[in-house]
Amino acid sequence: MNYLLPERLDRLAREYALGTMTGRAKRRFEKLLRDAPPAMHAVAAWQERFSVLAAGVPAMQPREQVWSGLEQRLFTPAKTAARGPLQWLWDLLSVRTLGSALAGIVLCVIVLRSQPGLVGLETPSETLPASYVGLLLDANGKPTVLANSRRHGRQMTVKVLQPLVVPAGKLARLWAFPANGAPFPVAVLPRLPAVKESVSFTLPDESEKLFANVGRLAVSIDDAPARPGDAPPAEFALSGHCVKLW
C-alpha cells in the first residue's frame, strides 16, 4: 500500500496527530514518519491545526514544586547522576547488612523470574511490570510476605508466602522507612489470605511518591490504626528491603 498518496497520507497524519491511531497502525506510521519527510510535514500541519483547539483551554498555574522538581532532576550536581541508578540503595546499607540485603534481593528476583504469576505480575506484553518490590522476612529471616506495586500505581499487591498470625482484635500495618526521614505508616493491611494467595489494597498515594526514597518496609501488629505522625512501634513482625526495579 502506498501510504504517501496525498489523500491517504493526510488521513493517516490527522489520525496520528489527534491520537486516535493506536497499535500496529501507529507503529507502522511512526516508521513511515522516520523515513518519509512528506509524512512528517503532513503530521506537523495537522498538529498546527489542532493547536487552535487549545486556544480555549483555561490556563492552570502549576505549583512551584513542579519547577523546583524539574530543576532538581535536570541540574543537580553530576556527582549524583554518575553514581548509578542503584547507588541510593547502597547508601542505605551498612557493611553488616549488605549480605542480607543481597540475599533478599536475589531471592526476590528469583521468585519474580521463576513464577511471575505467584505475585500477580502479568507478562510485560499485557500490563505494566511492577516497579517497587518488597520482600518482608519474619524474625527468623524467613520470607513471609512479598509486596509489589507499579511505579505510578495506587494499588499494592501482597502475596503471602507463609502464614502471618494477626490475633483477633489486632491489625497488621505496613510501615515505610525512607532513606532520609522518619518512618511513616503506609496503610493497614487487609485481612491476609492463605499462603500463595494475594490480596490488593489501595495506597494513599502513587507508589512513586510513597516509595521513591524508601529502602525498607516493615509490618507491625497493633491494637489500633496509626495516626499521621505517630512514632513507629519498637518491634516489627516483618521487615525487609524495598527495591525499585525500574
Binding site: 500541519a45 487552535v52 480555549g56 532532576r73 500490563t127 505494566l128 490488593s200
Partner: protein
C-alpha cells in the same frame, strides 16, 4: 527556543514560566487530575530540555511543538493508567471523573476555542454529535472505541463523526487563512 537548545538555563526557565500554565491546562483536560497533570508537565519539560536541539522552526511554532509534547505524554499517561486500572482489583475512579475543576466540558472547550480563533460560525455546520466526537478526541485523548462508548453510538458512526469534524476543521481554518 534556540537558547534552550544551547543549554541556557535562564532561557529554559523563561520558556517554562511563559508556557507552563497553558500547557498544564492542556494536560489537565486529558488526565482530569492535577497531580498527574503536573507530573506529565514536568516530564514534558525534561523532554524539552533534552531535545530542544531537535526543534525545527520550519515545521512547527514553539507552542505547537510544546503542546504536542505535553498532549502526547498526557495521552500515554491516561492510557497506561487505564491499563493499570483494568488489571487491578480495586479501582479508583479518578480516571472516570471527567468533570473539570472549572466545570468546563469538552464541548464547551471546543466552543471557546473556535470563538477565539473566529471559526465558530463555520464550524457550526457540524451537528452536535460530530462536535462532541471531535471534542472528546482532542480534549480527552479518547480513541474511536472510547468515543463510541461515551456517545452510545456504533464504532463506525463514531469514526464518521470524528472524520467529518476533522474535515470541517481543516476547511474552516483554510477559509479563515489560519492554516495550510
Amino acid at each position: 527556543m534556540s537558547q534552550v537548545a544551547l543549554r541556557d538555563r535562564s532561557a529554559f526557565e523563561q520558556l517554562y514560566r511563559a508556557t507552563s500554565a497553558h500547557l498544564l491546562g492542556v494536560a489537565f483536560r486529558i488526565l482530569s487530575n492535577r497531580d498527574r497533570a503536573e507530573e506529565v508537565l514536568q516530564e514534558a519539560f525534561m523532554n524539552v530540555w533534552n531535545s530542544a536541539g531537535g526543534y525545527n522552526p520550519g515545521v512547527a511554532t514553539p507552542m505547537t511543538w510544546l503542546i504536542n509534547i505535553v498532549r502526547n505524554k498526557a495521552i500515554d499517561a491516561v492510557r497506561s493508567g487505564k491499563t493499570e486500572r483494568n488489571s487491578t482489583v480495586a479501582l479508583d475512579d479518578e480516571g472516570m471523573d471527567v468533570a473539570d475543576a472549572d466545570g468546563l466540558q469538552p464541548q464547551e472547550l471546543l466552543d471557546e476555542s473556535l470563538v477565539k480563533v473566529n471559526i465558530d460560525r463555520c464550524m457550526s455546520e457540524l451537528n452536535p454529535s460530530q462536535r462532541q466526537a471531535l471534542a472528546l478526541a482532542y480534549y480527552r485523548g479518547m480513541v474511536h472505541t472510547d468515543i463510541a462508548a461515551a456517545l452510545n453510538a456504533p464504532l463506525g458512526t463514531a469514526k464518521a463523526w470524528v472524520r467529518r469534524g476533522l474535515d470541517k476543521l481543516k476547511s474552516c481554518l483554510e477559509a479563515a487563512g489560519l492554516a495550510a
